[in-house]
Symmetry: C2
Subunit: 151 residues, 2 copies
DNA sequence: CTCATTTAGTGGCATATACCACTATAACCG
DNA sequence: CGGTTATAGTGGTATATGCCACTAAATGAG
């Protein structure tokens, strides 16, 4: 009944990454649960907050997320009144995003919980380990897998 | 227009992990696309294949995935005839999973593409880097975040 | 044996995330 | 200026995942 009775699991970089993401996501989600937000939503609110009324495209590319996926993810936050959008006056194709006052309050609340989760994570894995892990993950996010142009 | 105009992004372990997972997922998915399978599905077929007609619970716990999530994820694979399930004769609560002949053929096909993606990843990040990354991710997956029992 | 409890999965609902086709707007070119 | 192209988002559809309430089946206590 060991947790890892199945072999071979550790071979695929992508599978391992997703697996770790599920684990960590469950942990962060648990800790954030009292706020009613998921970790993804907390992260998104935070990104919006630290940006200067960022355009959707800017957020999406920062988060390496599909633009339409961002749009979908934003919907519950808009519905719940944490976030609002408005067209850029200089380019009406661009939709900018900001927190509502209510969203600011909520962010404050959820960030307290986030600190708990973050701290607990770093207690368990070690601060330096966590830092180098994040660096490694940032490295992956920055990779370019394109084959060098043949011509 | 830098990709990372927004600051602060790199602070959250969970957010960074998800971000890297999106990036890598997109890459693996791209490479596997000709097979018609997503990387998650390839990974799942593979897990089923290397297991001995594993029970759903066993798969779920190996992958650190919610049991019901596994059930949902399995549905398209069953619908497309790659996978079938059957009740364990000794314990009818248990549902075991196996590949169909068609599933085996498909796995073969998709694994060829997987090797391409995997190889390309390791070319780009380095074999040793990849190995230690996977080890780190496995470490995260194995963490225990429970607070030590107060009693 | 019978009832309470635990275990294994299911189904519904909600969010996360991607791709595609489409629309609106801006930018560019002759 | 007018038509073509490029850019920014939207909506639909599909998979990925999680939680909860529920059912079925096995286990354990009396």
């Amino acid at each position: 009944m060991s947790k890892n009775a199945l072999p071979g699991l550790t071979l695929c970089n992508n599978a391992m990454l997703r697996r770790a993401a599920r684990k960590l996501g469950q942990f962060y989600d648990d800790v954030l649960a009292p706020s009613g937000l998921k970790a993804t939503q907390q992260g998104l609110l935070y990104q919006i907050h630290i940006g200067d009324e960022p355009a959707m495209g800017a957020i999406a590319s920062s988060l390496i997320m599909d633009l339409s996926a961002l749009g979908h993810t934003l919907k519950p936050l808009i519905r719940d009144g944490y976030v609002e959008t408005f067209a850029d006056p200089d380019d009406r194709r661009i939709k900018r995003v900001r927190l509502t006052p209510r969203g600011l309050v909520k962010l404050d609340e959820v960030m307290k919980l986030w600190h708990v989760a973050q701290q607990r994570f770093e207690d368990v894995v070690g601060k330096d380990q966590a830092t180098s892990l994040r660096a490694a993950l940032d490295g992956i996010a920055a990779l370019d897998f394109d084959l060098p142009p043949a011509g």
